[in-house]
C-alpha cells in the first residue's frame, strides 16, 4: 500500500514482521533432526525453470517464463551502490538520473510513453546494487524493451532537469525526517559502521547533494554501468527464443569501457563499548528505538538457521519480543528483530516504539527478553513451530514476476543459486536445538550493544545515559541521510 492509501485503514500488525529482502545461504549441511521434534509438511516448492546466458560483452541474463497474467518484468542490476559513493548519494542520484530523459528523448516524452501503456519504469540504488526495473503488458515488449535499454545506457545531459531533481531530493530528505520510522535505520547503520563504506547512507545528505554535479554522475555511470558489471532478469509472459533475440539486439552493442574497481570492505570497525545515539525530535509523542550490533553477511552458511532463530526472537507475531512488549504489557503496537545482511557484513537489530513515559520500561523489557536467548534458550516445541512458520510463509515471497525478478537479481549480486529455494525446506527441517545454541552464541551480538533513540531528548536523555555513551543530535541537522 502506498503512503496515501495506508491512512484509510487500521491494520493489526504494521508491515511484515519478517525480514525484508530474500535470504541467502551456501552449503549448510542438514544435520540430523532431534529425536522428539515433529516436522510440519508445508507442501513442496521449487525454483521455477529459467535460463541463463551471457553475451560476449559480459552482460548476463536470466529468463524465466511465467504465464499467469500477460505481463513482463525487466530488472537490471548493476553492481554498484552506496558503498561505491565517491560523494554521499552519488549512486542514488545516478540511478535517478536515468529517469531524466535518454537517447535524445525528454523526461516528459518517456514518461508519456510509459504511462500511456499502463507500464511502469523505476530506478533505485541500495547499499551494493543499483536497479532499473520496468513492468508492462507483454504485447508492449517491442516498445518497452528498446526504451529500457536506452534509459539504462544513454541518459541525457539535461542540466535543467538535473537541478530540479536535486532540489526535490534535498527537500525529500527533510520530509523523510518527519517520520522517525522512515529514518531510524540510517542512524543505526552509521552508528555501527562509522566511516566504513557500509556506513554510507544511500540517500546522501542535503549538503552532499547540494555539491553534486551532472559530470560526477556521468563519471559514476561510466565506472559502473558496464555490461560486465550488470545482469538483467526477465520474468513473465514471453517466448524465450524470441525474447533472447530481442535482448541480443538491444544490448549486444553495449561496450565495456573501463576496468572495474570495487571498494575494500574487509576492514570492519570494532565496537568496544555501548553507545547511544540520541536523536532529538522536539514534538515527538513517542520514543522510537533500535538496539543491536553487527550481524552476518548474505552468504553466511548459517543464514537459514539464523532466520529460524530470529523468527522465535522477533520475526513473527508470537515471537518473544512481540509477545512481551505488545501482548503481555501493551507497551507498543509491535516489536521485532531481524538481520540486515550485506555481501560482506551485516546488522542485527531489535526495533520498537512506545509512549515517552514508558521508554525505559520498554528498553529494559526488550533487553531482558533478548537475554533469554542465552539464559533460557529455545525449546523443541517452539523450534518446531518456527520451522513450520518459516517454511509455510516462504512460497508467497516468490509468487509474482516482480518478486522472481528480484530473486534472480539477488542471485547475481550475492552469488547464490537455486539451492537457496530448492534446499530451503530441508535446511530448516534439519535445524536442531544444539544448533540453535551454537547460532545464538556465534552470531547474536551480546555485548557492546548500540542504541538509537528518536524522541524528545530533553525528556529521555537521562534514560539514554543508562545504556551507554550518549551522543545527542537534532533530527533536523544535516547528516545521517538527511
Amino acid at each position: 500500500m502506498s503512503r496515501v492509501t495506508q491512512i484509510f485503514s487500521q491494520t493489526r500488525i504494521v508491515g511484515a514482521l519478517l525480514l525484508a529482502g530474500s535470504l541467502t545461504l551456501a552449503g549448510c549441511a542438514a544435520t540430523q533432526k532431534h529425536a522428539t521434534s515433529s516436522l510440519v509438511d508445508t507442501g513442496s516448492f521449487s525454483m521455477p525453470a529459467y535460463e541463463k546466458f551471457t553475451l560476449d560483452n559480459g552482460l548476463s541474463f536470466y529468463l524465466m517464463p511465467q504465464t499467469e497474467v500477460p505481463l513482463v518484468t525487466l530488472n537490471a542490476m548493476v553492481r554498484a551502490g552506496a558503498i561505491n559513493d565517491t560523494k554521499a548519494g552519488v549512486a542514488h542520484m545516478t540511478s535517478q538520473w536515468l529517469l531524466l530523459g535518454s537517447g535524445g528523448k525528454s523526461k516528459a516524452e518517456i514518461e508519456q510513453t510509459v504511462d500511456s501503456l499502463g507500464a511502469s519504469l523505476q530506478a533505485e540504488a541500495g547499499m551494493e546494487g543499483s536497479y532499473l526495473s520496468a513492468d508492462f503488458m507483454a504485447k508492449d515488449t517491442d516498445k518497452m524493451l528498446p526504451l529500457f535499454a536506452t534509459v539504462l545506457l544513454s541518459p541525457n545531459f539535461d542540466y535543467a532537469e538535473f537541478d530540479k531533481l536535486r532540489e526535490r531530493e534535498v527537500a525529500g530528505l527533510s520530509q523523510d525526517k518527519e517520520s522517525p520510522r522512515a529514518v531510524i535505520g540510517r542512524y543505526f547503520n552509521k552508528l555501527v559502521f562509522g566511516t566504513h563504506p557500509y556506513g554510507n547512507a544511500a540517500s546522501g545528505t542535503r549538503e552532499s547533494l547540494a555539491g553534486l554535479s551532472l559530470s560526477q554522475l556521468r563519471a559514476f555511470h561510466k565506472s559502473y554501468y558496464q555490461p560486465q558489471n550488470t545482469s538483467i532478469s526477465v520474468v513473465g509472459d514471453f517466448d524465450p527464443a524470441q525474447m533472447k533475440a530481442r535482448l541480443k539486439k538491444a544490448f549486444a552493442g553495449w561496450k565495456n569501457t573501463r576496468e572495474l574497481v570495487q571498494p575494500e570492505l574487509a576492514q570492519l570497525p570494532s565496537l568496544d563499548k555501548s553507545r547511544v545515539l540520541l536523536v532529538d525530535k522536539g514534538d515527538a509523542i513517542e520514543t522510537t528505538f533500535l538496539i543491536g550490533g553487527p550481524g552476518v553477511n548474505r552468504s553466511n552458511p548459517d543464514y537459514v538457521g539464523l532466520t529460524v532463530v530470529n523468527t522465535i526472537l522477533g520475526g513473527r507475531f508470537t515471537s518473544w519480543l512481540n509477545d512481551e512488549l505488545r501482548v503481555n504489557s501493551g507497551l507498543t503496537y509491535g516489536a521485532r528483530s531481524g538481520f540486515v545482511p550485506y555481501a560482506h557484513a551485516g546488522l542485527f537489530q531489535i526495533s520498537t516504539f512506545t509512549k515517552q513515559a514508558s521508554t525505559q520500561e520498554a528498553i529494559d523489557l526488550a533487553l531482558k527478553t533478548y537475554a533469554r536467548l542465552w539464559q533460557q534458550g529455545i525449546d523443541q516445541q517452539t523450534l518446531d513451530s518456527a520451522k513450520a512458520y518459516v517454511k509455510g510463509q516462504f512460497p508467497p515471497k516468490f509468487e509474482t514476476s516482480g518478486q522472481l525478478a528480484g530473486l534472480l537479481s539477488d542471485m547475481a549480486l550475492y552469488g547464490f543459486d537455486d539451492s537457496f529455494i530448492n534446499e530451503f525446506q530441508a535446511k530448516v527441517d534439519g535445524l536442531t536445538l544444539d544448533e540453535t545454541r551454537r547460532l545464538v552464541n556465534t552470531y547474536f551480538p551480546q555485548h557492546n550493544l548500540q542504541y538509537v533513540l528518536i524522541g524528545n531528548a530533553d525528556k529521555i536523555a537521562k534514560i539514554a545515559a543508562k545504556y551507554g555513551e550518549v551522543t545527542r543530535v537534532d533530527i533536523k541537522a544535516a547528516g545521517f541521510g538527511g
Binding site: 491494520t11 508445508t42 504465464t67 505481463l71 499502463g118 525529500g172 507475531f317 508470537t318 516504539f353 512458520y389
Partner: protein, 443 residues
C-alpha cells in the same frame, strides 16, 4: 497505443492464443451460501502450495456512535485474544505452528481478517475461525493490555504520518453528522473508556455469519472447502441483521477550512476533500478515472502541473471505495519556499482546468491501460485475488462486478470525466485542510 479494455475482455474469452497468459475470469470462481447466510467464494489456484482465507465482516467505523468510536478496530484486535477452544494467545500459536500467518484491517466500512497458510493447513484455519466467531471469550485482562496496544497504534500513526494527522482533522469538519466524521482508530478518550459490555454486544450484533463473506483462494479444492465450511461454519446460528446506518450527511453549503499545527513539518501539507456518492453510484467509475488522470504516473495532471513545476514535492488524488457517500481527496506537500496558499491554488488550478476544458481521449485511454495493469497485478497473487473478490462483493453487491468493471470503465468518454469534475469538485462542496509548522498570524 490504441489499446483499451477490450483487450481484457478478449483475454477473458475462450480464444486466447495458445500458450498466452490468461488472467482469472469470472468462470474460475465458485461460490455457495450456507443456510446461516454466510456466502463463501472459492478460487482454485495451484501456482504455489499455499492458500488464504479472507473473512470480510460488514462492520466498520460507520457502525459506531459517539462514546464507542474506534470500537470496530479495537474489536478486530480482540478477535485474536481468546475463545472457547483456543484460549488467549492460542489462535496465533496454533496458526503459526501450522505454518500460517495472519493480519487484519479495519476501514470505515468493514473489518477484514486475513489468514495465509500452507494449503494443507486448511482445516486448522476453519477450526480457528469458527471457534472465534461462535465462541469468542472476551477477557478483561486482555481488554486492558490491548487498550495500550491500540493507544500505541494511534500514537505511532500520528507520529509517523502527516497525512493521517491531517485527514483525521479534515474528516471531523467535512462530516458533521455521519459517522465517517471520526477516524477509524477512534477518539483517544473512547479508546480508554469502552467497556466489556460494549464489546460483548458488538460481537453478538456484527459477528454473525449472515454479516460476513468469506473468500478462499489458492491450492485448494472447492469440494474440500465446501465440506469444511459445512462442518465448521454451518452450525453457527445467524442473528437478526444489524440496524442500518440511518444518518445521511446533510448537503454542504459552502467551503469549510481547518488548520493543524505540527512543529516538525518541514513544508506545508494541503488536503482538499469533496463529497461524492457511494461506490454503488454509477458515477464511481468516472470519478475513479478522474482520480487517475489527476495523479497516476508522471504524465498525470498533478505531477506535470505541480511536481514538475517545483510547486509540490508530491501530489496525489484518492477515491476510497465506500458504502455511504464519502470524500474524494486531493493532496500535496509544498516544495521548499512555497506557501500553503500557493499550493492550494495550484491544486485548484488543475481541478478547474478539467472542469472547464475536459480531458483528452489519449488521457482517458492511458488511465484505462493503467487500470488494466492494476487488474492484472491483483490477479497475479492468491492474496490479490481474494482481497479483490471480497472487496467487490461488499462494495458492489457481487464479486462478478469485478469482471464487469472493464466494460464500465471502457464506456466512459471524456465528457463523462468533465461532467463529474463539474458536478462534484466545486467550492461549496469542499473542505480544505492545511498542516504546517506555524499558523499564520492574524492581520
Amino acid at each position: 497505443m490504441k489499446f483499451s479494455f477490450s483487450a481484457l475482455l478478449l483475454s477473458m474469452g475462450l480464444l486466447a492464443a495458445p500458450g498466452a497468459a490468461q488472467a482469472t475470469t469470472a468462470a474460475d470462481i465458485q461460490s455457495f451460501t450456507l443456510d446461516n447466510g454466510m456466502k463463501i467464494m472459492v478460487l482454485e489456484d495451484g501456482s504455489i502450495p499455499n492458500a488464504n482465507m479472507y473473512l470480510f465482516w460488514k462492520v466498520g467505523s460507520r457502525n459506531e456512535v459517539p462514546g464507542i468510536t474506534g470500537i470496530s478496530h479495537f474489536f478486530e484486535h480482540m478477535m485474536f485474544n481468546g475463545s472457547k477452544k483456543y484460549g488467549p494467545k492460542m489462535f496465533d500459536r496454533t496458526m503459526e505452528a501450522a505454518g500460517g500467518a495472519n493480519n487484519a484491517y479495519t476501514t470505515e466500512d468493514m473489518t477484514v481478517y486475513t489468514d495465509w497458510f500452507p494449503a494443507n493447513a486448511l482445516e486448522t484455519m476453519f477450526d480457528l475461525e469458527a471457534d472465534r466467531i461462535a465462541n469468542l471469550d472476551i477477557n478483561q485482562t486482555m481488554v486492558d493490555s490491548e487498550r495500550g496496544v491500540v493507544a500505541s497504534e494511534r500514537t505511532t500513526g500520528l507520529e509517523n504520518s502527516n497525512w493521517r494527522t491531517l485527514q483525521e482533522e479534515l474528516k471531523g469538519v467535512a462530516f458533521r453528522a455521519h459517522p465517517y466524521s471520526w477516524p477509524v482508530i477512534g477518539h483517544e478518550s473512547d479508546i480508554a473508556a469502552w467497556t466489556l459490555d460494549d464489546l460483548v454486544q458488538y460481537h453478538k450484533t456484527y459477528y454473525a455469519p449472515n454479516n460476513a463473506v468469506m473468500v478462499v483462494s489458492g491450492d485448494v479444492k472447492f469440494d474440500e472447502v465446501k465440506r469444511l465450511a459445512d462442518k465448521y461454519l454451518a452450525p453457527i446460528p445467524p442473528q437478526a441483521p444489524p440496524a442500518r446506518v440511518r444518518t445521511v450527511e446533510p448537503q454542504q453549503k459552502g467551503e469549510r477550512r481547518v488548520f493543524v499545527q505540527k512543529a516538525s513539518v518541514s513544508t506545508p501539507n494541503v488536503m482538499l476533500a469533496y463529497h461524492v456518492p457511494a461506490s454503488s453510484n454509477a458515477d464511481y467509475y468516472a470519478l475513479d478515472l478522474l482520480s487517475a488522470i489527476l495523479s497516476q504516473g508522471k504524465s498525470s495532471r498533478l505531477y506535470r502541473g505541480l511536481v514538475d513545476k517545483q510547486v509540490a514535492l508530491e501530489a496525489e488524488a484518492y477515491l476510497p471505495m465506500s458504502l455511504d457517500p464519502n470524500l474524494f481527496y486531493i493532496m500535496g506537500v509544498a516544495s521548499p519556499g512555497v506557501a500553503a496558499t500557493k499550493l492550494e491554488q495550484a491544486l485548484l488550478t488543475q481541478i478547474k482546468a478539467i472542469a472547464r476544458d475536459g480531458v483528452t481521449k489519449d488521457e482517458l485511454e492511458k488511465v484505462k491501460n493503467i487500470k488494466l495493469m492494476e487488474f492484472y497485478h491483483a490477479m497475479e497473487t492468491i492474496n490479490g485475488k481474494a482481497n479483490t473478490l471480497g472487496t467487490y462483493e461488499l462494495y458492489f453487491g457481487s464479486y462478478d462486478k469485478l469482471f464487469n468493471a472493464p466494460k464500465a470503465y471502457n464506456q466512459l468518454t471524456p465528457a463523462d470525466i468533465q461532467r463529474v469534475a463539474q458536478t462534484y469538485l466545486t467550492k461549496a462542496n469542499r473542505t480544505v485542510a492545511v498542516l504546517a509548522a506555524t499558523e499564520e498570524a492574524d492581520l
